[in-house]
């Protein structure tokens, strides 16, 4: 209900401000391993002060992306995911009360316990990148599932690429 109210408010604001110019630059996304999420159901634009609000979590094309993918046995953030890291970091800066859990995951290659470490390293890497952009350490919880929660069960590189991910989960939006 709250979300709906905020979406309505955003829509009203949008109508009220008529053709307000977009201040929020959303760069085009590089192609990624999974199909992009479905298009947002409503036309949105940021409110005039340029800050993200909880409503944007449901509508903003960048904020709707919550998965960052990695190369095998690596934890560095690839350039094509910089935008996702940046918009979520901005959200956390704009909403100091917001909290996220970063869930680190790996593909099934290697031992369960080593992969717990690798999943944590990936989630830490995302946290550090967001903190470098101004987000506060208090806003993060890191959980590593290692290889325990695969999204794909085939033994192919395409499948493994989907498993090697950090998922951004908002536990508190403002």
């Amino acid at each position: 209900m709250k979300t709906f109210a905020r979406i309505s408010l955003a829509a009203l604001l949008c109508v009220g401000l008529a053709a307000c110019a977009s201040k929020q630059e959303v760069k085009p996304q590089a192609p990624e391993a999974t199909p992009p999420p479905p298009a947002a159901p409503v036309q949105t634009a940021p409110v005039s002060n340029g800050k993200f609000t909880p409503a944007d979590l449901e509508t903003n094309a960048c904020l709707l992306k919550r998965r960052i993918y990695f190369n095998f046995n690596r934890a560095n953030i690839k350039p094509e995911f910089d935008d996702i890291v940046a918009c979520h970091a901005k959200y956390l800066v704009d909403n100091p009360g917001a909290r996220v859990t970063l869930q680190g995951n790996t593909d099934p290659r290697g031992s369960r316990e080593y992969n717990l470490g690798l999943g944590e390293r990936r989630a830490n890497s995302v946290e550090q990148a967001m903190e470098a952009l101004g987000a506060n350490a208090d806003q993060f919880t890191v959980v590593s599932y290692g290889k325990e929660r695969p999204v794909c069960n085939e033994m192919t590189e395409a499948c493994w690429a989907k498993d090697r991910r950090v998922v951004i989960v908002y536990t508190k939006t403002e």
Binding site: R109, G110, R112, Y114
Partner: protein, 446 residues
């Protein structure tokens, strides 16, 4: 008798906690899969035991259980049903020329009879065909549902008499199963007999469970559970089902391993920033940090003398095995062959270290022989094998594999790689196996 009540308790506990019958997770589809002929294997015949009472015989065929034990350890080969042309059940009935003609070295015979109170007395004899001398004779009295345990104890005696080392058939294994769809996954920690029979649910959860580790006396299991939302280490008494939180610190709480004397637990904790190896004194809860490398350090295993740990670390870039004395002095790298090595298991005397070796996308179980200049040999075919765990006598290993359909299964393999036995669930995955210690027979318990 004490053990029986424990088993009963476990079953009741499982029902009470989960409201689901334990039979849902029965180990199914046990198959004996002989990989290679073993020319050097010792020929032994286990003649079906005679049932000498009027009542109907128990459903457990003791001789068949003994025969399967003999075969799956890789050191023996046996005659099967139709080739067993005579069925002596007492020493006086053995016609040695027959068994010489069949090129048998040893003969196991036996008999069962009803002794009242629902109990069955099983008598057995081991004979040397060449010397025509009796090597062993003994008897067990048990309830019909305990006859598999009796058969494993007889197999252990035969193994020890012929091989000269303790048998490890009368032991238990722990493993984790997952069932259900991805959205509705259920994890179960199971304890079963060494051959996969008699599975019992230890704990069941909607969040991941992994890495069960046996206490040296076989009475407790330490394991990792995500039930709180993140990894935490628990220690659970198998008989009572009671458990306690060992570590629920920030970050990773995982990879438990009991010290040989059972007083300490080595583990991987990342509350300090990176996953490092710690040792906890179980009585005081006091933690000692062992590694300080700022890389991933995990999977600690105790050397049998309890003085040093073998563990996995990626301090050199790729996961490799290292050892480090508890007294300090830094880590020594142990594994040099292959792209990466992890998840070790150390045999009873420390002369062999099993590990998972990864090369490209192929992960196989390799054994490093420390008496033979650290020579490595593979004992599993890959491509996705993991979690090796030695039987307490080092004669067999349990490991996890992924079959062609992406399903998690377990294999028990002889340490010479000759014989493999598959342990699979019909509708789920089996993973994270751990072979338990020698077991004290119920009759010997105080």
């Amino acid at each position: 008798m004490k053990l029986r009540s424990c088993k009963f308790l476990l079953a009741v506990l499982a029902l009470a906690l989960c409201g689901l019958p334990a039979s849902r997770v029965l180990a199914q589809g046990l198959t004996l899969d002989i990989i290679n002929g073993v020319p050097s294997a010792i020929p032994i015949t286990v003649v079906p035991f005679a049932f000498e009472s009027a009542a109907s015989p128990p459903s457990t065929r003791v001789a068949a259980v003994i025969r399967d034990d003999m075969v799956r350890c890789g050191k023996f080969r046996t005659l099967s049903g139709p080739d067993i042309v005579e069925h002596p059940s007492h020493g006086s009935e053995i016609k040695f020329p027959t068994w010489k003609l069949l090129k048998q070295d040893y003969l196991v015979i036996g008999r069962e009879r009803d002794v009242g109170g629902g109990q069955v007395k099983v008598s057995f004899e081991l004979w040397n065909v060449n010397t025509q001398k009796q090597m062993l004779a003994g008897a067990y009295t048990a309830l019909p549902e305990d006859l598999r345990g009796v058969a494993h104890q007889i197999a252990d005696q035969i193994y020890q008499k012929i091989i000269g080392q303790p048998g490890a058939f009368y032991t238990r294994i722990a493993y984790v199963t997952t069932t259900g769809s991805r959205k509705d996954m259920q994890w179960s920690l199971i304890v079963a007999d060494s051959d996969g029979h008699n599975p019992q649910v230890v704990v069941r959860s909607r969040q991941p469970l992994l890495s069960p580790a046996w206490s040296p006396n076989g009475k407790e299991l330490a394991y990792v559970s995500f039930e709180s939302g993140d990894s935490a280490l628990y220690l659970q008494n198998l008989a009572t089902g009671q458990r306690r939180l060992i570590s629920g610190r920030k970050g990773i709480n995982a990879a438990p391993a009991f010290s040989p004397d059972g007083t300490k637990l080595a583990m991987c904790l990342s509350f300090g920033g990176s996953p490092e190896i710690y040792v906890m004194d179980l009585k005081s809860g006091q933690l000692t940090q062992i590694t300080h490398s700022l890389s991933i350090n995990t999977e600690p295993r105790w050397m049998p003398d309890g003085q040093s740990l073998v563990f996995t670390s990626d301090r050199s870039g790729q996961p490799q095995l290292y050892s480090e004395p508890l007294s300090g002095g830094g880590a020594t790298r142990l594994s040099f062959q292959g792209e990466n090595n992890s998840d070790s298991s150390i045999n009873y005397d420390g002369s062999q270290i099993a590990m998972v070796q990864g090369n490209g996308n192929v992960y196989r179980i390799a054994i490093m022989d420390r008496k033979l200049d650290n020579q490595m040999r593979f004992i599993s075919p890959g491509p996705m094998d993991g979690s090796p765990s030695y039987a307490p006598n080092g004669s067999m290993l349990l490991y996890a594999a992924t079959d062609n359909n992406g399903k998690g299964v377990l294999y028990e393999v002889a340490d010479n790689g000759s014989v493999r036995q598959r342990l699979a669930l019909v509708d789920g995955n089996v993973q994270s196996p751990s072979w338990g210690p020698y077991r004290v027979p119920p009759s010997a318990q105080p």
